[in-house]
């Protein structure tokens, strides 16, 4: 009987997050993302939409006895050099502005910086086209 070598293929994931940093689904998204990489797979892009944009905010101050998701996301993206994109329209509406947008709209607070990039929904579609799987987290 011939031996069959099972090769697990590397899957490409696009992960979209729709809920704020304090939402349990945001933590689940991060844990899923970590497990995907630990399992040898790739993440083509993290895309933050709707309230998900708050995960990229440097202005969030998490209570000491809670999980600091924005900080953990930043560390995760930096460590694995992932593409972290925040939907610009969703971010503007929610007051999550980077330097450029704060200047453009003459707003005081700059809430987003590296490694996050503000961009359009085209980046979400691009990720969906590139990936084998799209996983969305959000709601509760």
């Amino acid at each position: 009987m011939a031996a069959v070598l099972l090769i697990e293929s590397v899957m490409k994931f696009a992960i979209a997050l729709f809920s704020a940093a304090h939402a349990p689904s945001s933590r689940r998204a991060l844990l899923f993302a970590q497990a995907a990489l630990a399992g040898g797979h790739e993440i083509v892009r993290l895309f933050f939409y709707q309230d998900g944009v708050y995960n990229a905010s440097a202005s969030v101050v998490t209570p000491q006895d809670e999980q600091d998701l924005p900080k953990q996301w930043r560390a995760f993206v930096a460590e694995h050099q992932l593409d972290g994109v925040v939907c610009i329209a969703a971010a503007l509406r929610r007051g999550v502005l980077n330097d450029e947008e704060a200047q453009r709209y003459q707003r005081e607070a700059v809430a987003v910086g590296a490694p996050w990039e503000l961009s359009g929904l085209g980046q979400l579609h691009d990720a969906v086209q590139d990936a084998d799987r799209l996983i969305c987290f959000g709601g509760a």
């Binding site: 994931f13 349990p24 689904s25 970590q34 497990a35 799987r133 969305c136 709601g139 509760a140």
Partner: protein, 97 residues
């Protein structure tokens, strides 16, 4: 084609579970996460709906454990590596945001 449906809202006072059960396919599966694990509370309408619908059922273990909700024999408790595997095994993931 097969879909992994993912729920994360409590089924009490929310129509995601019933909507999902109405259109879940024979090759699909249902993963309960977050407050959706409350659907496993025995003797409740959502629990009975799950028994009646008989979907292939997975439960995120940490959420059942946190809420002291027992995972019945008809469901499989999973961790995150298994969640990743499921998302690959099924052709797509439909999270009911």
């Amino acid at each position: 084609m097969s879909t992994l449906h993912v729920l994360s809202h409590s089924p009490f006072g929310d129509d995601r579970l019933s909507s999902c059960l109405r259109l879940i396919g024979a090759n699909d599966a249902l993963l309960l996460t977050g407050d959706a694990v409350y659907a496993l509370q025995p003797g409740t309408a959502p629990f009975n709906a799950l028994i009646a619908g008989k979907p292939t059922l997975f439960v995120l273990a940490e959420d059942a454990q946190a809420r002291a909700v027992e995972v019945p024999d008809t469901a499989k408790a999973i961790d995150y590596p298994a969640f990743v595997e499921l998302s690959i095994h099924y052709d797509k993931v439909n999270s009911w945001l």
